[in-house]
């Protein structure tokens, strides 16, 4: 039907919408009242969909049972592709040199044997629990990051979250306003058409009016020549998405909170060890973290990136050199605001009796405690708000102290 595209000038009036009086369409422009110490916190939540193998990413090389369980894909501290030892016990996957560098600079930390309260093994329920922040599956109307946004003083530090990708991740869905952005290359509708449509929606379909208005705001802010999608290379895409999000967040009046998701961590077969499929993906994640660091520039100082996944994978490899759905896994923190250089873990051990249901790394830390600790450190949210509003009924998961410098 349409097999070529009008080669017309792309600069449009919409670029100007972000300036001057046109802000009306953006009802929730962030305003900033900087804290006295100049701290201007930023938070990025990266969700790895598909359940990351935490034991393959930060390997407990010092645990005598690890090598046997993880078999052909286990990491080792020696050999052709040695793990990057974080301490005498844990080794980082060799495809994450940037994270290792941040860790050595004490700007990155690992929390191991961590899990949400979810104990079954459905990706989709697991993701719902991870993102909704509720104690169990089935309540998916809003996400914890959105409720955290709502709890912040309106019009002060942060009042709008950035959703990266074509659909808003659940973690950022809810009543607090968010804006969306995704890297694309497409000629854009002109402003007059867009404004007429916004007007029609205002009269007939307020939900679409709000969605479209928000969608119009940021479309150009992050899209430059270097932002074109690079089909086929997942690693390049991860970097590119991170670069665009960082660019938006680096602006003085840009969003302070962002959420994005990377797919593809469901490694049932041929997971690979120090090299292979998981290594490739971890390289992409590592690159994305580096993009955030460089893209945020001196804002990196005030940034925490939280990397989390819905659950872990079996401690023992399965019959096809991969791992099936498990429970305990890792969370990663990176950023200049992280009090890093540590692997934080109440290590449960990998003896058969210590495994969860005889198969998974037993979780000893509640992921909510980690996230609460970050939210408290970055935004000063109270124990009570965290326990009742952000993560409902979670008083038993106390905020982890001292994660943020």
């Amino acid at each position: 039907m349409i097999d070529c595209v009008e080669n017309r000038l792309l600069t449009s009036r919409r670029g100007l919408l972000l300036g001057g009086a046109s802000f009306a369409a953006w009802a929730y422009l962030p305003k900033f009242a900087r804290a006295a110490d100049g701290h201007d916190p930023r938070l990025v939540v990266v969700i790895l969909r598909g359940a990351l193998d935490g034991l393959a990413t930060v390997a407990p090389i010092g645990d005598p049972d690890y090598a046997g369980l993880h078999g052909s894909i286990a990491l080792a501290s020696n050999g052709a592709h040695p793990a990057l030892m974080l301490d005498s016990f844990f080794g980082l996957h060799p495809s994450m040199p940037e994270f290792a560098r941040m860790y050595r600079a004490q700007h990155a930390a690992v929390i191991h044997a961590v899990s949400t309260p979810y104990r079954d093994r459905s990706h989709f329920d697991g993701q719902d629990v991870l993102e909704s922040g509720y104690g169990g599956p089935g309540r998916v109307q809003s996400g914890w990051l959105n409720r955290a946004l709502e709890a912040l003083p309106r019009g002060e530090r942060v009042s709008s979250g950035l959703a990266v990708g074509p659909t808003t991740p659940l973690v950022l869905r809810g009543s607090a306003p968010t804006v969306g952005w995704a890297p694309v290359a497409l000629p854009q509708a002109d402003d007059d058409t867009a404004m007429r449509l916004v007007d029609l929606y205002r009269h007939r379909d307020p939900a679409l009016a709000s969605a479209l208005s928000q969608g119009l705001q940021l479309e150009k802010a992050a899209s430059g020549d270097d932002m074109k999608p690079k089909p086929g290379n997942q690693v390049a895409q991860m970097r590119q998405v991170a670069r665009g999000a960082a660019k938006l967040m680096a602006a003085d009046d840009g969003p302070r909170i962002a959420a994005l998701a990377f797919d593809g961590w469901d490694t049932h077969a041929n997971e690979g060890g120090p090299v292979g499929r998981l290594a490739f993906l971890l390289g992409g994640l590592d690159g994305a973290l580096a993009e955030f660091e460089s893209g945020l520039g001196d804002r990196w100082r005030d940034t925490v990136v939280v990397v989390a996944t819905e659950f872990g994978r079996t401690a023992r490899i399965n019959g096809t050199d991969g791992t099936d759905h498990g429970t305990g896994t890792i969370a990663l923190l990176a950023g200049g605001a992280v009090k890093g250089g540590r692997v934080i873990s109440d290590w449960p051990g990998l003896k058969p009796a210590n495994l969860y249901e005889g198969r998974d790394l037993k979780p000893t830390t509640d992921l909510r405690s980690v996230i609460k600790g970050v939210l408290q450190g970055q935004f000063g949210l109270s124990d009570q708000v965290l326990a009742q509003t952000v993560f409902p009924d979670s008083a038993s998961a106390r905020p982890m102290k001292g994660l943020v410098a």
Binding site: M1, I2, V5, E6, N7, L10, T11, G15, L18, G19, R49, G50, H123, F124, D125, P137, P166, T167, T168, R173, A185, L186, P187, Q188, D192, T193, R196, L197, L200, H203, D205, A207, L208, G215, K220, S223, G224, P229, P231, G232, N233, Q234, Q237, V241, A250, A251, D252, D253, G254, D263, D266, H268, G284, G297, D298, G319, T320, G322, D324, E357
Partner: protein, 518 residues
């Protein structure tokens, strides 16, 4: 004759793919007998099958893919022999200059980038199938100069056949059913070359053949289809105590077994345990497809490999399945298909897809009862939906998926595509790449997922492209008559009447609530 345009809107949009433009008279036909209009398609038993020149069977396609892979391998080896040097390292990616990024306002960033955009070459990028899902594997991109390989060609042929059918059918209810079941039992073309090669054949063979038949038959066809076995790794799964498992020191992979119970039948919380998952995984060991050497049968066809099958009886959901080889798994699937949790799960999902994100409980209960009473008769299920009052009375709050939106637009514009490129690219951009969901749970089915800011903005961009290209030759008010007639809102009518050009009017019509909601 009584004409009910509002009911026609429901018939065409909630159940179908929207009214066709031109001389079809779809809206008038639907208005005179809305339920009859929808149900007419169910009465054509073979109408849902898809046969078109160039479409091949799964084994034929598998063999073509194997042959292509062999060719590539040979070419690579020949090239290696000719030039035994290491591949050059790709240049390091340029990092943005931190200095430039500091202390800018968002507005400055925008202005700065607007300058860059003016230098961009839109015609170059717009046709590249960029992915909207960070991290999702992008569909294979062909440079214009490079001829398509057999896998890309097959994918486009299959896509085109599906799109052409969607454009041509009267109402589109059965095609919508195909899309529903195909998404319920989804595979992802991004799994690998075989999945891309088989995506269309999988839908034609395992879904279409049973979409008005019996759920248990569809379930069996799906779980034995090479595309599904490949997608969820079952061809690699070996019974630990089977001969192959002992010899090769490999074993179980529980991916397919878990998704059968969680996503295809019982639903999560449907009453199964980790032990049941492991049991079913053992039961279906040996379910595979014959490889390129044809040791297990015709290459690319379903095969039961007794050597890989876990010996012995298995306990599943409280019942023991005796070791009867392939029949053991077939018996287990037949029981799972009839499980009460399955009836509940399917009824809920069905009502959610067609009626409302939170479907009326009474409707779900009725559909569940029909499913149970008829032993999973999917035609009876579809008929019960059309016969229900809820399906006609619920407000039109569902958001069209990107696929539905693009097909509805194409129908209204009376364009039967001769090339799937525009559709495939648009679907990639809108976050619903054809036959390529991010996970085995398929694409989302709620308004919240598809009404995201970025998604709506991109729809507008695509609608504008269509307007720019086709607007000059159409009368937008005629199209509004075809699409909604007097069921169109006064505001939509006014917006289209007052548009400054036909191009703009068309874009606004395609984006109007009447075309976006169903």
């Amino acid at each position: 004759m009584a004409r009910d345009s509002q009911a026609a809107l429901v018939a065409l949009n909630r159940f179908g793919f929207g009214a066709r433009g031109g001389a079809s008279g779809d809206l008038i036909n639907a208005a005179s007998d809305p339920r009859g209009f929808v149900k007419a398609e169910l009465a054509r038993p073979f109408g849902v099958l898809l046969e078109a020149p160039g479409l091949q069977s799964t084994p034929q396609l598998g063999q073509a893919a194997f042959a292509y892979q062999d060719q590539v391998k040979q070419a690579r080896e020949a090239a290696k022999a000719a030039a035994p040097t290491e591949a050059p390292q790709p240049p390091a990616e340029q990092k943005p200059d931190n200095q430039l990024r500091r202390n800018l306002s968002l507005n400055t960033v925008v202005t700065e980038i607007a300058g860059q955009m003016a230098e961009a070459k839109p015609a170059d990028n717009a046709m590249k199938p960029g992915t909207m899902q960070p991290g999702a594997a992008a569909p294979a991109a062909a440079k214009p100069a490079q001829p398509l390989n057999v896998i890309q060609k097959t994918f486009r042929t299959e896509a085109l056949a599906r799109l052409q059918r969607a454009m041509l059918v009267d109402c589109g209810f059965t095609e919508r059913l195909v899309v529903f079941w195909s998404n319920h039992f989804c595979i992802s073309a991004s799994k690998g070359e075989l999945a891309r090669m088989w995506a269309g054949a999988f839908e034609r063979e395992a879904i279409r053949s049973h979409v008005l038949g019996c759920f248990a038959d569809m379930l069996k066809a799906v779980e034995q289809h090479p595309a599904m076995l490949f997608f969820l790794d079952n061809q690699q799964s070996l019974g630990p105590d089977s001969r192959a498992g002992q010899n090769r020191k490999r074993g179980l992979n529980e991916n397919l077994a878990r998704e059968i119970m969680e996503l295809h039948t019982l639903g999560v919380g449907g009453g199964y345990t980790q032990g049941d998952v492991t049991s079913l995984a053992r039961i279906i060991t040996g379910w595979t497809f014959a490889g390129r050497k044809g040791q297990l049968g015709v290459p690319g066809s379903f095969a039961f490999n007794a050597n890989a099958h876990q010996p012995g009886p298995q306990m599943l959901l409280g019942k023991t399945y005796e070791p009867t080889g392939l029949a053991q798994g077939e018996a287990a699937l037949a029981d799972i298909a009839r499980h009460p949790s399955t009836a509940n799960f399917i009824a809920t999902k069905f009502a959610r897809h067609f009626v409302a994100d939170d479907p009326p409980p009474a409707l779900v209960a009725r559909l569940r009862d029909v499913f149970v009473r008829t032993d999973g008769d999917l035609k009876a299920l579809a008929t019960a939906l059309v016969d229900s009052d809820e399906a006609w009375k619920a407000p039109l709050t569902k958001m069209r998926s990107p696929y539905d939106f693009l097909v509805a637009s194409g129908r209204l514009l009376a364009r039967v595509p001769e090339d799937p490129g525009f559709y495939l690219n648009s679907l990639n951009l809108l976050g619903q790449p054809l036959w390529t969901p991010a996970g085995p749970n398929g694409f989302p089915d709620t308004a919240a997922a598809w009404a995201a800011p970025e998604g709506i903005k991109l729809r507008l961009d695509i609608a504008s492209q269509m307007g720019a290209r086709l607007g000059p030759n159409i009368d937008p008010l005629d199209l509004l008559e075809f699409a909604a007639a007097d069921a169109a809102s006064a505001e939509t009518r006014k917006t289209i009447e007052r548009a400054e050009s036909r191009q703009q009017a068309l874009a606004l019509l395609l984006m109007s609530p009447e075309l976006q909601r169903r």
